[in-house]
Symmetry: C2
Amino acid sequence: MAEDVFKALADPTRRRILDELAERDGQSLFEICARLATKHGLGLSRQAISQHLAVLEAAGLVRTRRQGRYKFHDLNTGPLERIVTRWLRPDVPESAP
Amino acid sequence: MAEDVFKALADPTRRRILDELAERDGQSLFEICARLATKHGLGLSRQAISQHLAVLEAAGLVRTRRQGRYKFHDLNTGPLERIVTRWLRPDVPESAP
DNA sequence: TTGTCATGCAAGTCATCACTTGCCTATGGT
DNA sequence: ACCATAGGCAAGTGATGACTTGCATGACAA
């Protein structure tokens, strides 16, 4: 649902997480925590990131795959491509001859 | 700022307003109120819509022009085109040969 | 099995946001 | 001048959301 996508993108921390996954796919929860802390100076608890990831997954922006006791997260840009074209002109330039 | 754009898009009512302006540019506050009420069944107060329009204008998604005692609102899709490309591949397909 | 590491669930707190109500300003018609 | 119309400002309320703390679960190693 588009509603979930927009709400997921509303939070700056979640956008940072998407940035991180765009740079390196398949990170675990702790990896994301560490990189957000070191690179962006975000001092958030593990659960905070976990909840953000749950929101992103519910919106379809992040796909997860479990492997043993690890859970890897991958970015999924599918929903992103559809949401904004709603207000851009109905005739998309890509499909034009 | 991208922050303002995402926050502006987070609310369903504001997205409806953008829909309305995308369909017909240059509407006044009361026109938007009326059309939201009749077409979408939204029973919101005038101030509610006014505050939403202020948020949209602060985000650069809506441009306003005063004319007498009327204030007309126009959709501005500029910020929309930039925000999502952040996570789509750095190489934009439009510029590819 | 026992300990440890990676993650999940639940409740509680604090801030932000959407919406309302009431009053005020200003423009235009008569 | 008068009154109605279009819009703005401000404070207050209720709900949603971000974050924390504490405990529980499941997997791997010794």
